[in-house]
Point group: C2
DNA sequence: ATAAAACATGCATTGGATGAATGCAAAGGG
DNA sequence: CCCTTTGCATTCATCCAATGCATGTTTTAT
């Protein structure tokens, strides 16, 4: 099979394919000078193009007949194939307009589970209505998923660009702003007053971490104040937060939107100490560069961005 | 329709179609240097071809990913269309092999009526067996037919190239040799002895002529000998020869093959005077230049030539 | 840290396509 | 018959865009 393909390529290897344009014009007009006008060449240039075609095709194609020319049978037989070839070539160079209603694209989307289960469902409900043929797989953020993102195997991801692993060859677009907040059980001793840095450091912490890392920035700041916190528990899935925080004295620092998802009447939300200096951060959609100009991908990104504007 | 076609052409008007070859190689190898090898360019030249393709297609096509490249979705979608376009282009530049058994060609053949009714039927019987889909129209030689031959509307003709009207833009191939002979009624006074030039000139002549002209060469030679013949009758169709010669003293000078077709026991065949210096002449098949390289036409010509070799 | 792999870019070269001018042939008209 | 017009082919000079060599940059592997 590969060999056949190779032979196929060899066949036009030494052929100037731009001659196709001249050939089409010659077949249509049966005249050198008229064809020249049609493709914006001078008559002598078209005469020479005909000469080159005659050699390439080993056929006179157009034969002198008095003042004009007449097509050979080979030339006449070539009308349709040449036109079809040019149509094929033209379609290669003509960008296709993306039509969601007819699209059959398949997207793999990777998101932190709290976004996967909160932000995306309403967006996707809308997508399903507009683009019924489009298939979307949602996958939870994972360490191997981040690698696949960098290799271009994941269509779209969500996360904080400046936090977490360094992402290569990707582009991103901010969707909405978020901030870190502290969650603790209702009636926790620290819940009734403004949380100080010493109290924060002295508390026993749970950490939400997918990759087994994270939180280093908070610990750096505590270090700068000569403080150190104890991380007693690492949680990999946001749904377990309520179960481990509500019945204990553990506190956990998470994005506010995540906190909103796990909030129960057994939990209390407290602002973190101002000394931590934690600014708002952007949650972005992130994708590999190869998808930047893809019309389908662009459409999906626009949909998601719009949905975030509505919600925020 | 024409307007649509024109727009279609404009679409690739400014596109270097030779980029198609580079594009196919890039899509296949997903590598600039490998594609370069495949199409016999240097790596920098292929890199620049990719650059031009990126602009033509407004898509990165291949995106850096570490040491290598990865295809954009647009590029992946282009694999099949590019291959198909190149297949179409290749078929344009690949001569088709003529297969008689499958051919559906239509030939218009023009011949003097004595050849049409004598030489061609056995040939055509064979053609019908070998190429059942081929359609052949036989037309008698006519003045307007000669004009159509020169304009390329007649596929093939038969005649004597150096005799008769001047034919433009045609090619020819000798089929067999013939000579002129005299036909006269049985018992004609000139039939019993060797025909002298004076006797030939003194006889009353009939002339076989399709165009109303002809025989001028014989009259020129008689002139050189101070002689002149009387042409009492012009006959346009060879089938009438017997009817006008047998019951009269008219004589007629015709090709030997024609004489063989009209010969009856009421006629006598006599050699013309040697002083007329009439050599053998070639009967040829004649065709317009535009058909010279046509495979179907070449096949037909070969068949007819072969049949003539067998018969002579 | 160094070497290898792979693509991108700078620079000089050149071959082939091009148009203006001209030649040649056929047809049309006076 | 002669002149004009039409239409393609060829000569000649020009030029420009594609090309390869050399080099730069980046990423990966050892």
């Amino acid at each position: 099979m590969f060999y056949i393909l190779y032979m196929h390529q060899t066949n036009v290897k030494n052929v100037d394919l731009n001659l196709l344009k001249a050939l089409d014009a010659l077949l249509e007009t049966e005249s050198v000078s008229k064809a020249a006008v049609l493709v914006n060449l001078s008559q002598p240039a078209m005469s020479r193009a005909l000469n080159r075609l005659q050699h390439a095709l080993k056929d006179p194609l157009l034969v002198r007949s008095g003042r004009g020319m007449v097509l050979t049978p080979r030339a006449e037989a070539l009308r349709a194939p040449v036109r079809e070839a040019l149509a094929q070539v033209s379609s290669v160079f003509t960008p296709k307009v993306f039509d969601p209603a007819k699209a059959q694209d398949h997207f793999r989307i990777m998101a932190p589970d709290y976004l996967a289960q909160t932000l995306l469902p309403p967006v996707l409900g809308q997508l399903v209505n507009l683009a019924p043929g489009v298939q979307i797989d949602i996958e939870n953020l994972s360490a191997s998923g981040v690698q696949q993102m960098c290799e271009g195997h994941i269509s779209l991801g969500f996360g904080v660009v400046n936090d977490g692993p360094v992402l290569e060859n990707v582009a991103s677009q901010a969707l909405f702003q978020d901030r870190q907040v502290c969650l603790m059980r209702k009636g926790h001793p620290l819940a009734a007053k403004t949380l100080s840095l010493e109290d924060y450091a002295g508390a026993t912490h749970a950490l939400l971490s997918i990759t087994g890392k994270g939180g280093g920035r908070i610990d750096d700041i505590l270090n700068e104040h000569g403080l150190k916190r104890t991380i007693a528990l690492r949680v990999a899935h946001f749904m377990t937060i309520s179960a481990v925080i509500a019945p204990t004295d553990l506190i956990i620092t998470v994005p506010e939107m995540l906190a909103a998802q796990v909030m129960t009447e057994d939990l209390e939300l407290v602002a973190p100490p101002k000394e931590l200096g934690m600014p708002h951060f952007s949650v972005s959609q992130i994708w590999h560069q190869r998808f930047t100009k893809d019309p389908a991908h662009q459409w999906l990104r626009r949909m998601i961005k719009s949905a975030c504007l509505v919600q925020s």
